[in-house]
Symmetry: C2
Subunit: 108 residues, 2 copies
Amino acid sequence: MGTRNTDTRNTDTRNQDHLCRAFKALANPTRLRIYQQIRDQRSGEVADSGCKLVDFINSLKVGAPTVSHHLKELVNAGLIEVRRDGRFLTCYLREDMREELRRFWERT
Amino acid sequence: MGTRNTDTRNTDTRNQDHLCRAFKALANPTRLRIYQQIRDQRSGEVADSGCKLVDFINSLKVGAPTVSHHLKELVNAGLIEVRRDGRFLTCYLREDMREELRRFWERT
DNA sequence: ATTAAAGTTCGATAGTTGTCGAACTGTCAA
DNA sequence: TTGACAGTTCGACAACTATCGAACTTTAAT
């Protein structure tokens, strides 16, 4: 079984859960910062500079376990993905999710 | 003293708090529903049908105190405003805030 | 193989949130 | 003015969240 049409709720309701989890993930200052940093560096000139997990640990005022926890939340909400890149975990924006959120805020 | 330039944080940081509080307000299924209902009815044909607080109490599965609480959160986050309209409180979308959020999700 | 750095997991704890019922305060119609 | 409906405030409580330190695993450099 796939993930589509496997429950009795309608598309709107499922879509709403989806949105709601995204907003929840961004409803924390530390996570919002992380998200923005990943989004903003992505369009920078040095494409390979990356957004490494370790940099968040060093730049933010929270410890490694907390950063690990927050990153997991962002991944679970579908906002970012994390890949191993040599010694480091690097974070990437999920453009599909960003597009979905952009559509939500679009003018009628 | 006004509300501008009265602290040492930069504009980005203040703007982030702003966004964060908006996302927090939408990070709850009941509040997201309320917000969407207000937003969607606004562009409906019968402009004066309004989004009355009492209708939320009847249509959602939560009691009056809870709706009251949620509405206050949405107001405090700057997402909606509430005005008395005869016997009822009616909810209106804050278009300025919507625009701000639209800009956040805009493509680079 | 050692070691150092990168990252996770666990358990604890303080703080926040969603919800309720009860009691309260308007506001309008009869 | 009384009664009914609209809405708020308060106190309580369970559930959830953010954070930490300690202990652990994984990765790569030496």
